[in-house]
Amino acid sequence: MAEGSNAIKQRNERYNKYVDTVTPKTSIPKALFHSFAVGGTTCVIGQGIGDIIMLISPAMSKDMVANITSMILVTVAILFTGLGFFDVIARQGGAGSFLPITGFANAMASASMEFKTEGLIFGTSVKLFSVVGPVVVNGIVWSSLAGLINLWILGMY
């Protein structure tokens, strides 16, 4: 009995060593640098779009400039997803490509495209929020709570 469990232990150790050798080693500093560069660049592009809109129509409110900026970023990211460019960026960028709002748009578009074969209603329409659902649901729940807390508790003071 004891011998049997020992053999299993040895086998597991061998297996773990094998898994370690075949798992691709990602260099952490390199991955961090790529995320930093891709994420930073995306934010700079967003800033640039906002600045250009403000130059074109200086009368526009700050909120509207922010809205249009995110609409442009989202549209470009989704077009890039459709054309297949986004995958190239995402492979290098890691978190730099999914943390900005462009990553949110990409997750939505790629889920929608992936299930096109199952039909527009049961494929695309059902799966559209399958990746970004957690973000939308948690966003609505916790922001509603923030609004209520602000009104009922912070509003007293």
């Binding site: 934010c43 800033q47 559209l128 957690p134 973000v135 609004g147």
Partner: protein
């Protein structure tokens, strides 16, 4: 002077946006957190920052560096909810976040649908 100021702003935007993404990347490689969980963590961080009223101060310095990452989406949801709760009463808290972020989410849904109709998924 104005040129220097613009360069400074863009450098700050690049640095903050990049740092946030590098933190997210570090969470991926060092912990077992999945991208979806990390997105939710950053989103809730944005809601909290807006809820306690410090987001505006950070935004004045970092600008797109904090508003383009998902943190800005959370802050925008919370700001909408708070503003509407204060203007129309507690029912506004449930609508405000959606109203404020509807521009981005709306265009994302419509564009995703159109892109799906136009393009076919490619092999990975």
């Amino acid at each position: 002077m104005a040129v220097l100021q613009t360069i400074g702003t863009y450098a700050t935007v690049f640095a903050t946006g990049g740092t946030l993404c590098a933190i997210a990347e570090l969470l991926i490689v060092r912990t077992k957190l999945t991208p979806a969980r990390i997105l939710v963590i950053f989103l809730i961080a944005g809601i909290i920052l807006e809820g306690i009223g410090v987001y505006d101060t950070i935004f004045k310095v970092c600008q797109a560096g904090i508003s383009v990452p998902i943190v800005g989406f959370g802050a925008s949801l919370a700001k909408g909810s708070i503003d509407m709760a204060r203007s129309v009463g507690f029912v506004g808290a449930f609508a405000g976040g959606l109203v404020r972020t509807a521009y981005g989410v709306g265009v994302a849904v419509v564009m995703s649908y159109i892109v799906t109709l136009v393009f076919s998924p490619r092999a990975k």
